[in-house]
Symmetry: D2
Subunit: 355 residues, 4 copies
């Protein structure tokens, strides 16, 4: 039984960590950090945890917390962790950061897209990008995990096998993503009011959303080259879920008989199977079945699939996940399981809830 | 490890049984009955179960099923079970019926409100009304459980302590209930289309809803007298959840000093505590906190509370539950746990999902 | 063509006034008051008005505004108008107040329920409670209209004929009301975030909601006696709409043959017809049809109906309206039409939008 | 005052025609055709029209109807009109067809994508594709209007100026569209149930949706060449609204100083202004403002805008409309206005409703 602390426990991602860790057999949460609700009972902020969590919220004291716990989850605004993280903390405890502070290796790219100066670039190099299915092996001995963004987890996993296998022209990649509103956080902002979101859909952050360079960096590693993509997020009137619809032009391949032609449906499925067949949390759907966010709601699954357009020689890739589970808290728990050698599925045996 | 069969596995309540029993350590589902989807994979109907359930749907053959399983759940239309149930079946297996066929002891009342002739009234007497918190003791040796309705579970548990303790005038009881749309089932009917339900609220079945006599019978037992109430259900644009707002006039009580007056807040809380303090699944909220359906979504909890109106001497009681968990499948599993001597919470350690 | 100014034009009710007055043939809006958005284009705050309204928002200067317009609409927080209204203003222009400042005749009642001191009680007496269908005659020569609350408009009109005709015991009246979220205003508050409201229903303000004394006062006039009721509002995951479900015990009446008995369905319909048959904006639905908020969305209609419960001798009355039209801006325009002698329907020929 | 008949008056598009024509000064609806509801009052099917429309629904008798009215609207399933239309009918009345029967000039393309044999290809040639802003001039003397599809109206108008002016590489065009659920019609089908749509988003008809060739044909005319695009529709949990997000690679242009480079923001805005500046119903939003479906809800507007991605040299075009107004009934009324020489805006002065 290890001990865990959560900084930012009363945001939606932090509260989901509480929900997931409550059901985890190997972890006990001993620190519910929340600047906004210090000394208030956590269950008075999230009444769903009434009678389940009796603790009060504590302030953010990372050095003290590092003394007391084996792992710290930071579900905090951009720049926070970078401004307080020290070598001493990392020597005493592991840190799983749900913010973007250590996701991007190139500090200049980070500072450009996020518009803030990075306060501790010395830790960027050692941080492991915690996309479990891709980087599981790099976690050995890791002290600092950069937990991927919600859009990025969905966008990358949806396209990864075809990028990695060189089956698509990566510079034609366009990611049109749709997210539920919990992704906007629990801050009391006018655009997130019920009446502004309900019965409405819009794009936002067009050409400027911060998850763009994160997707480009990770898919660039898979492609073995730098890439530029278009990424457009949309706000959907639902609580949870991200759907990524991705478009790319297929690259011709040499068939066994020597002919050069576009890859077949079977080839693409083989590519997906190669990477995901043994993955518990990535489900390649049956041919022709389009992922729906509702089918993964509340769970750590990513459902993916693709459809070839024979007319345009493009492939339409689709992926769906729950943005605060696999897109945030669930993946953080999965990363913790890997770091500590627990069963990777522990605490994540969540069956999607329908309807 | 016992074996279970589900008749009506592809309705919303049946599918929730599949979800809950999937995580239950003592039960294996071996029969996914669904007339409409015979020979189709269950996971092709409910894609959330993709890679979790590989079985195909089977037809409804109760006698055969009774040979193979320890318990049968029937999540079927009214009248179905009554038309096929036999002594032979009950001798071989236990039956937990999620329909209303055996809930009402007076067959004439059943036939009047449901408008159908009861095909097997001989089993009504032995059927136990499966409201676990109230009737737990009656389950010993029971072969047939009448699982309560969703509205009734919520309506009864919300008012039960005050009725049982004689603190309200039961004939002034008015239940104004609001339900998510999953309560209407998965049938393809025009009034349940998205565009008809979304951005809309309405009452329905006013003075005629079939859960009325069920509430009256059960609360009548608690009151020790026959009672008549008003029950008005409403359809709310959400998937899950029932909120019952209940009104009743307080009855004066004799205080220790001999004065006759309306009961105090403390007296009412003491009444709720008397019946629910040790109940896992009924949570009496802190004073002044109103239940919200979102705080129990996906879980087996019922959140209850009350507020006294000093001006009118009425008490407003409120209760919230998830209509397909505690209001249907969750309570059915809880009943099964009691019947078979399992831990009553087994398979039901579901933390409410928020948001 | 008269000139109008709106104070609080960027709240939901204020913006609805803009929408309605845009289509009104006799009025021109010349002042879009909004403290929060001074000097910003109104259409940059409400993009639906892009290319329709070019004006910028102005600060709140009531004395200056009174010089320039024939009528001022105040869609402002409680207490604002009371703190700035003067005899000079009322001598120059008419004021239609969408806040509660002058709705309640007894200043002590106002101060108790609203928790603020009334700054200009001298105007309370002359203010006409602008429930058009009831108080149309009192508007002659009126300078100050207290536009009714959203819940109150719905609650009163639903029960009015039976109260006025003495067909129900008014002290048994219970109003269980359900509102869309626009009623909570456009303030950026956590409880009104999409993720907090969506997939959720709750009661709030139980026994303490400020519309309670307003309903009691107005229905008290109709009843010819002081009355106390229970009023419970609920928050529903939809933008617009209020549904009031009201319960009261019927009073026995003397039939022509001398027998004393509960009133018949026909008697109740006759009572509704007596008051509403010639009313454009109140629709008594056909027998058995329950009002739905969607059927009046975007329009100035109130749909009402009732169902008798022969078992309990109660009547269930139901009313539905759009809370920001008939419940706020629409009724304000209707009041303006009456004040200025325009066709009462001018600008309000809005056909409900479905779906 | 002309007379109109509606075939398919009880579908969502047909009912919206009823709503719009109710407010039209030059038209009287004399035939509410609805096979499913013959002899039932229209207002019993759409209660929003209670007390506004007293007529009963009639069967579909096109020859008889042609004798009685000046214009027939057919809001009917694919293939219906083609199977009953005759020269005699067209000699007597004008027909505005909201189905796809006469939208596509190449009958083979129609038959391939729709999977049905065209029963009256002889009328395809004379049918005018009723995208008002583009084809207004072609309407002179026209007898048969093929009213465009909802997705196509939005997709075409969003990209038209850039295609027409040769500013984008049309074969890189990708349309990712999101629609509210009313687009799926009022048929009682399981996928359109509230619980299946709510809290969910999915793509459907990927690479196979029938609006694809319609977009390709019309944009092909603008481009002066045949084009192939990707079009992917998504189902969004809202009643009304379509948002199209469109991607295309910019084509270099020769600047006045002779340099060859990608077009500037100003050039693209000039292109949009060229075609839309004088259009009432197409609103080019201010730079950087992304269209939202809520801002056009209930109105005949299309809001469009674009953002250049300097990194990828693509332009992201966005358009939003109300699928049953400008995407169906509103455009049909606009077409009627053009056909009969009415003010093109008559009956369409609908201010978008927010929230």
């Amino acid at each position: 039984m290890i001990k865990a602390g959560i900084i930012g426990a009363t945001g939606y991602a932090g509260a989901e960590l509480v929900r997931l860790l409550y059901g985890h057999k190997e972890v006990e949460v001993v620190w519910y950090g929340s600047r906004s609700y210090v000394d208030q009972k956590f269950a008075d902020v999230y009444h769903n945890m009434f009678q389940l969590v009796d603790d009060k919220c504590l302030d953010d004291n990372l050095p003290k917390l590092a003394e007391e716990v084996d792992v710290i989850f930071t579900a905090t605004p951009q720049g926070y962790l970078a401004s307080v993280l020290t070598e001493e903390i990392l020597e005493k405890t592991k840190v799983i950061d749900l913010s973007a502070d250590y996701r991007i290796k190139d500090v200049a790219t980070y500072e450009k897209w996020y518009g803030i100066k990075h306060q501790s670039p010395q830790f960027i190099e050692e941080a492991v990008y915690g996309l479990c299915e891709i980087n599981r092996e790099k976690m050995q001995g890791c002290r600092l995990v950069a937990n991927p963004g919600c859009y990025t987890t969905c966008s990358i996993l949806t396209a990864y096998p075809l990028v990695k296998e060189g089956l698509i022209d990566v510079n034609t990649l366009i990611v049109d993503a749709k997210s539920g509103t919990s992704g906007a956080g629990r801050g009391a902002k006018l655009p997130n009011l019920f009446c502004e979101v309900n019965e409405n859909i819009k794009a936002y952050g067009v050409t400027t959303h911060r998850h763009t360079p994160e997707i480009e960096e990770q898919l660039g590693y898979a492609a073995g080259q730098e890439i530029l993509i278009n990424f457009t997020p949309h706000l959907v009137p639902m609580n949870r879920g991200i759907l990524a619809t991705e478009y790319a032009t297929l690259k011709k391949v040499t068939y066994p008989d020597g002919t050069l032609d576009y890859p077949s449906e079977e080839m693409l499925r083989a590519a997906y199977d190669k990477y995901y067949k043994d993955e518990k949390f990535v489900r390649l759907l049956d041919p022709g079945v389009c992922p729906e966010t509702k089918w993964v709601e509340g769970s750590n699954y990513v459902d993916v699939n693709f459809i070839i357009d024979e007319r345009t020689h493009r492939v339409v890739m689709m992926g769906a996940l729950d943005n605060i589970v696999k897109g945030a808290a669930g993946q953080a728990v999965q990363n913790m399981n890997i770091l500590f050698g627990f069963d990777e599925k522990e605490g994540l045996d969540l069956v999607p809830m329908f309807p």
